[in-house]
Amino acid sequence: MNLLGIIETLRRNLRTVVLGCYVALALVVVLDCVRLFADHEPEGAAAEHATDFWTEFYHVSESWPAFWAAFGLLGCLLLVLVSKTYGHLDVSQREDYYHE
């Protein structure tokens, strides 16, 4: 198998690959909506057992379409933002920090 050939082909058709990715993103959201609407008895039974706020929130969030997509997108941006900010609090130093 010519692995390098496959990678090169994908890179030459980068526009198509990127387009494919957009389609995949859209498809994931659409399929999640379809799944939720097809699912007839979603949170009803489970939510009744909910005793505290978080459990209830979890069961309700399961019925929101594309909840996890938003969680992934925002979560990633949040993590990077928090990490970078943390790094700037003098946590990131020059490479020779310990050997000066």
Binding site: C21, V28, R35, W54, G72, C76, V80, S83, S92
Partner: protein, 602 residues
């Protein structure tokens, strides 16, 4: 099943001793045979779990070297299996001591896993610490030597805590209570907490974690593959065995999982990045042990199993980069897919597995822990663990592959020249690990059959529409966010180190050195001066006085006595005339007079 039982650690230890004695022609075969025999030995135990072997009476202790049950076996199987893959990966390394150290290290881990009592556990715990440090030292860089000492320092401290806990435990409960079982309520007692600290030092739980990202990236290219697999997972086993259901562990696990991710996101060195993700992933297992339900413990074990393979694979990828190019910093790499395409593909498989992509091993193991959190009363922990999994994919599945093999080519000409796929044995080991990552992801049976709580394992089905949809949404949209950030040029890797809490003892050590150099030396000089002024000078003066006294006083007296004796001698000299006969006669005469006087008087 026969009663004949060989401790798998014994095979590895024997192999480690014999290896340097063998002729060169046999070495390669022996290197493969020993871990395979160990693996076979462990597999042979699957037929008859829940038996005790190797029970030894030592003084007043009953030591159990082979407590074989399903919890121990799931760890032993993967550890002995990883020993095969790791040895294959370093097969071309000529130095026997490196292989021997790795085998002794694995034997320590497997010995701790099978230990049925606390003393045996401690024994193998220390074997692990003292053999693994050589995998760091054998890199022979000055920084590795230093990191090795720091690693040893932390592990000796952790081991002491464990030992202190064990001693107090036995002191409280008598010598018959040394069996290593669940501590239950006693987990929060002083001995329980000391033992817990000993264990979570090895699990790299903050604030006892900094040894891991300090030492592992400084190990040899193949030594770090071993390091990534054994120490932390042995600790996870010990937590599952002794501290299952301890609520404190859930939050420690959640903190770990996020802490590791935050540091990994700002890390530049890929091996250090992978090391931070060990902390993050072990966080899931620690949380699983803390939740403590049948599903959560299964999850901790399954995730440890999957983790050893995919983390080994990632470290093999990083090791290949180090071995071939000598460079592991993303700020000095990039665009290497043309030179190292197979390394790219295999490392990517590791990255997708750790990210819990459907059809890869992490998907079928990590989800047990998150589901246990969501459905068994730990919903906020479940959300936070899911948040950490975003960072996992961001780093391992996206950032490393992108900035090492694609992105801007920032290689030095030297690195670019040297970059190519590694030797066959390294690729074969990576291929084996990658195959198992995909295999476990696609076929859950073999892994789930090994788990300790069988009924919970059979009730759990990771491949349902809801779970797949949830995972794919998270992963795809994380990727979307990543490429947006790449486009905005927000996340270019930068050269630098990130300070972690090893700062305290590294800078603390430097402070001690500075103290030794500056104030203590100044004080030493000052004390020397004071000593000279107040001590030596009066001493010299006293000496002179004594000398004078000696010469004028003592000598005068002595000379005086001598003079007197001489003048007395001169006078006595006139009383005798020197003839022997006269003298003898006089002497006898005096004697005769004395005898006569004596007779007559008495």
């Amino acid at each position: 099943m026969s009663s004949f039982w060989i401790h798998p650690s014994l095979i590895l230890l024997g192999g480690a001793v014999l290896l340097p004695l063998l002729p060169k022609a046999l070495k390669k075969a022996f290197l493969l045979a020993v871990p395979l025999a160990t693996f076979g030995d462990v597999l042979s135990m699957l037929g008859a779990p829940s038996t005790n072997h190797g029970v030894v009476q030592f003084l007043q202790w009953t030591l159990t070297f082979g407590r074989v049950d399903s919890l121990a076996l799931v760890f032993a199987v993967i550890m002995s299996g990883m020993a095969c893959i790791g040895t294959l990966y370093g097969l071309h390394v000529e130095e026997d001591a490196q292989h021997s150290a790795a085998w002794v290290y694995v034997s320590g881990s497997i010995g701790a896993i099978f230990a049925g009592d606390l003393l045996t556990l401690f024994l193998f715990w220390e074997v692990m610490a003292f053999s693994s440090v050589f995998l760091v030292w054998f890199r022979r860089e000055p920084e590795s030597i230093r990191a090795g000492f720091r690693y040893l320092l932390v592990h000796v401290a952790g081991g002491l805590s464990l030992l202190a806990g064990i001693i107090l435990w036995i002191h409280d409960r008598g010598t018959t209570a040394i069996a290593f079982e669940s501590f239950g309520e006693a987990a929060y007692s002083t001995p329980g907490l000391l033992i817990l600290v000993g264990i979570i030092v090895n699990a790299a739980v903050p604030p006892f974690h900094a040894w891991l990202p300090d030492a592992y990236p400084n190990g040899t290219f193949n030594g770090s593959v071993f390091l990534s697999a054994f120490t932390t997972k042995t600790a996870v086993y010990a937590l599952c065995r002794g501290f299952a259901g301890m609520e404190l562990l859930v939050w420690l696990g959640v903190i770990m999982s996020l802490y590791g991710v935050v540091y990994a996101i700002i890390e530049n060195d890929i091996r250090r990045l992978f090391a931070y993700h060990i902390i993050s992933q072990v966080g899931y297992m620690v949380a699983g042990a803390g939740i403590g339900t049948a599903l959560a413990i299964n999850g901790a074990c399954a995730h440890a199993f999957a983790h050893i393979l995919y983390k080994g694979l990632l470290f093999m990828g990083g090791g290949a980069m180090l071995h071939m190019t000598g460079e592991t910093r993303m700020s000095r790499l990039g665009g290497l897919y043309k030179k190292m395409p197979w390394t790219f593909l295999l490392t990517l498989i590791g990255g997708l597995s750790i990210s819990a992509f459907p059809l890869f091993s992490g998907f079928v193991s990590k989800s047990m822990i998150t589901q246990a959190a969501f459905t068994q009363g730990w919903v906020p922990a479940g959300f936070l663990l899911t948040l950490a999994s975003i960072g996992t994919f961001y780093c391992n599945g996206l950032k490393v592959p992108y900035f090492v093999w694609f992105g801007t080519d920032k290689c030095t000409p030297e690195v670019r020249e040297k970059a190519e796929d590694p030797p066959w044995n390294m690729l074969a080991a990576m291929g084996a690990a990658a195959f198992l990552c995909v295999f476990l992801g696609c076929f859950t049976g073999p892994l789930y059959d090994l788990l300790p709580n069988q009924s919970a394992a059979h009730e759990f089905h990771p491949y349902n529409a809801g779970h797949i949809s949830e995972s794919v949404q998270i992963l795809f949209f994380t990727a979307c966010a990543f490429f947006v950030l790449v486009k905005l040029k927000k996340i270019e890797p930068h050269a630098g180190v990130n300070l972690d809490n090893d700062w305290f003892y590294r800078k603390g050590g430097q402070a001690v050195l500075w103290l030794a150099r500056k104030p203590i030396q100044t004080i030493d000089t000052a004390v020397g001066e004071v000593y000279r002024v107040l001590g030596v000078n009066p001493l010299m003066w006293t000496t002179r006085v004594v000398d004078l006294f000696d010469r004028k006083g003592i000598d005068g007296v002595v000379d005086g006595i001598a003079t007197s004796v001489r003048s007395l001698g001169g006078r006595v000299r006139f009383a005798q005339r020197g003839s022997v006969q006269e003298n003898l006669t006089a002497a006898f005469a005096v004697a005769a007079i004395l005898v006569v006087v004596f007779i007559f008087v008495f």
